[in-house]
Every structure is written in C-alpha cells, then in structure tokens.
Symmetry: C2
Subunit: 298 residues, 2 copies
C-alpha cells in the first residue's frame, strides 16, 4: 500500500510529493528503480516522535544525497521487557510533517509484523563495544538495534546513513558493524542538538513533568563540569568521573545509572595516558532514563 | 593485488580470463562496475579443495548468470578449537583450474587477516535452526558460517548464490538469514553429487584411508534403508531413526555422532503426522567426520 500526502506549500524548491511506504517489498522495489538510475540515497533511521535533532539529520541528508529516506519504526527488539516500548511516544502525522519540511522524499514506516514475521530468528550480535554502558544496563538492546539497522540498510540500500552523536555507543556499534560486515555505506555522525538550557534533545524528554524537565539539565551540567576540569588539565579518569557524578547527584530528582570515562573508540575504561576521553552518562530523572555524552580531546 | 591466469585452451567458447582477486576492497570495486552495468552475478561460496560437486554448483551458476564468482576461503570462525581447520585440505592452483573449467569468471580468495582484521567483533547469530544437529555438535559453527556468508554476500552483491544440499542445515540457515535480513538474493539449492558407490562428495573425503573410504559408504546405505522403509509406509520417526542407525553402526569403522529424523523446515524432531522428513546424520569414519542427508516426502 502506498499513501501519498499533499506537499507542504510552505517549503520552497519542493517539487516532490512525500511518499509513505509501509511494506518492505514495496521499498525494495522503489530502491531497485532508484539504484539503477545511479541516484545516491541518504537514510535517517528513527523511532518516530521526531524533533529538531531528527530534522537536523534529515537536513544534512538532504544536502548530501539525491534521495532522502526517513524510516519510522519503534523497534520492539531493542526494548527490554520492563522498558517503555508500549508507552514510547508515537505521533505519525506530525512525524511526516517534520520529515517533509526537513526535505524527506520517502517515509518508510513498516508494521512490526512485516519486519519480524513469524519464525524470525536471525540477529546481529555486536561484540565488545556492546557489552558495556547501555549494553550492560539494557541487555540485548544493541542486538536489537544492530539487527534493525542492518535490515533497514538492506531494504533501503543507502549511500549514506545518518546517526546522532547523543547515542554515541550506538553510533560506534553501527560503524563497527558496517566495517565488519563489509557494507558499502558511509556512516555520518551528526552532532547532538540541544535545547536552550543544554539538555540533549530526545523523544523521551516528552515523558518529563515540568519539575523533571528543569531537573534534567543536571546531565549536561555534569558533562560541562567534566569538560572544564579536563580543559584545566585534569587527566585522572577516576577524578573526572567523581566530579561529573557529584554534579549530577546534587540534583534530588536524578538517580545515576552510570557515569563513565571511556576510550572513545573501544568504549573501555579510559587510561590516564589517552589523548581523548568520552564522558558518558545515563541518569534517571523520575522514571525517565536519559543519556548524554561529550568528547574531550587535546 | 590482481593476478591473472592464462585461460585454459581446452574450454570452447571461453573468451574470458579467470581473474583472481584477493583483496576485499578490490572485489568491491569490481562489483560496483559490474552492478552498474546491470549484469547478474552468481556466487558459489567454497572453502576450496574443489571437487566435482563444486563444479556442479559452478556450472549451474554459469548457466543462470552473466558473471560467476567463486569464493575460496577456509573460514576460521566456523571451526571449533579441536577441529580440522589447520589440516583442512588446501589446493589453490587445482581449485583455480577446476573453477575455470566449470565457467568461473572471478575467483575471490582473500587472506584471513583481511576478512577478520584486528578488532573484528560483529557476528551473525542464527536462531533455532542452528541450535540442533551440526549446531549441537559444533558450537558456534553456524555463527561462523552465517557471518562469512553475509560478508561474502555484501562483498560480491550476488543476484543468486549456490549451496549444496549435502549441507542441508547450512542451506536452511542461510535461507532463513536471507529472509530475516531482507537480502535481495536468490538462494539456489543444488542436489548432492555422489561418487559411484553413493558416498556424498566432500573435501573431507580426502582424509580417508582406503579402508575408511570403503567403509564410508555406510552413511548412504543407512539413508537408503531409511528411504526404502519410508517408501514401504513406515512413518514412525523413532523406528526410521533406529533402522538408519543400525545400518550405519553395523560398519566397524563408523562411530555415529547423530542420526535424526527432523522436520525439513524447522529441523526440529519430526512428528509422525508430517508429509515429509529429513533423514540426516553425522558419522565419524576413523577420525574423519562426514555428514549426509536425504529428504523423504509423499
């Protein structure tokens, strides 16, 4: 089934219709036609609930490719049994409007039963990079992420795929998969987009009450403190870790899941001799789990 | 590095040179050029030590595709620590002659260090189909198989890929992976090729001493007994299993690893009501482990 939305009149130079494709075999057919014409394809994989950070990924894809595909799929296999799959925000009409305004050609929004039909059983198993941090807190999460991303790559055959740096570990795992599986796809990291107070944009920010939203700035305050002491010459990972964690825990509504100082490539604990660290954290604000990170380097 | 062999003069209508490519990035470049020209590509993945059964795969690929690629790679990740990786037969010059005579355009023979560079960590994890039979006897085997096959698919972008039915479980796992990962590749099963006495052709037959080679016919004798009692109406999987196993164990040089009667799709234990069974076995002849199977259906 193909659905077609009328184009938004507000966007200049917009001479396409946004196509919405919801069946995997249909997107394969559309891609076959496109790739024979030699057009470049940019893919922005999303779980919907689009916001300005997604728009920034889409705009960059628009600048760099002939065709821009945005996938909208809340992937059940990357949620744990006690996680927020069922209440994850879904806003498909608004997603299409944001996607179109940012320059999307095709929204691919498959049904879970088409993505994971009965008998589905083959998964991607990412290695060491997936064992720590989010992987330790969310067992199986990155198997689900890597599997759906590989499937989306195979279905849409992108030239380039765009991933936000807020999900830094995800970005590194996808880059490793592309290398290990010999995929001819360029992974484009896009800088984290932040609210005015510094909070990293996330669909999960919609869960926050007003007091929680105000409290959530503690994540970026912690990261900034870490940046500052790094800039002042502190190189001991344990001291950096303690400084960041102390800032976050000073916020009564915050409960730290982890604060870690890691090697930006291997994601293992950083050694004091390294020229760069990733400061990365996961924090509950009330019941909402948020993540953020910052790279510090000489 | 590209090496070029002179063409074999004995083959009529042979107006190409066999190209040997040993670097993954080179095959990607060659494939990019080919796929833009719209040519169909047939892939025959092998571990080398080619024999007549491989030639049969290659000839079928030759008939059905514009370009035929034979990969020759003894894949370390599908061998267990106590298995025969180091002594697995290697005969590259002879392989190229057989491949060329059967109609190969490109032999892709990468080095292990290029296929699995330092830091490699992402694997395919096949599901239920991989847990039993060979998977139970050879833990991790099918993770290695599925991973290398996915990599070869990504590197060579085949229209069709050819797999022998002797490795029936491997065939089903690859078909499942192709479905689950949305790969636009047709998997072509090719019937098992047998020696005059019925022994399924296998590179591992080279390990057999003359007495062992004569004894090895017990695998196919067992399977044929199973076929015969099936044809005579026996539908009890346990009785079929016992009949096959008794025939095999009558051979003093044979030691059964497993003899199983399974559902040809799920590879789970067959139920008496099914319209078809796979009779499948793994048997040591001396130190050499051989496998074979036959499908019986109404």
């Amino acid at each position: 089934m193909w659905l077609t939305l009328r184009r938004a009149d507000f966007r200049e130079n917009w001479n396409r219709l946004l196509e919405i494709i919801d069946v995997p075999t249909k997107i394969q057919g559309a891609i076959r036609d496109l790739s024979q014409s030699g057009k470049t394809i940019g893919l922005v994989p999303t779980m919907g609930a689009l916001h300005e950070a997604h728009a920034s990924l889409i705009r960059q894809a628009r600048q760099e490719n002939d065709i821009v595909i945005v996938s909208v799929f809340v992937n059940p296999t990357q949620f744990g049994p006690s996680e927020d799959f069922s209440r994850y925000p879904r806003a498909f009409e608004e997603d299409c409007q944001i996607a179109e305004a940012a320059g999307t050609d095709i929204v691919f929004a498959p049904a879970a039963s088409d993505v994971y039909p009965e008998g589905f059983q083959t998964y991607v198993s990412p290695g060491d990079k997936a064992d720590r941090l989010e992987g330790a807190s969310r067992p199986g999460h990155f198997n689900g992420v890597a599997t759906i991303v590989l499937k989306l790559f195979n279905l849409t055959q992108p030239t380039r795929a765009y991933f936000g740096c807020k999900d830094y570990q995800q970005l590194k795992i996808i880059q490793q998969m592309v290398k290990d599986f010999d995929l001819a796809i360029e992974i484009v990291p896009v800088p984290t987009v932040r609210e005015a107070d510094g909070l990293a944009m996330s669909s999960r920010n919609r869960y926050l009450s007003l007091p929680e939203r105000l409290a959530a700035v503690c994540l970026v305050l912690g990261l900034r403190a870490g940046q500052e002491v790094w800039a002042n010459g502190e190189r001991d990972p344990r001291k950096l870790q303690a400084i960041v964690q102390n800032i976050v825990t000073a916020q009564p509504l915050a409960r730290v899941d982890y604060v870690a100082i890691v090697d930006p490539e291997t994601l293992e604990d950083a050694k004091p001799s390294q020229s760069s660290y990733l400061i990365v954290l996961a924090v509950y604000i009330g019941k909402t789990r948020l993540i953020d990170n910052v790279l510090v380097e000489k």
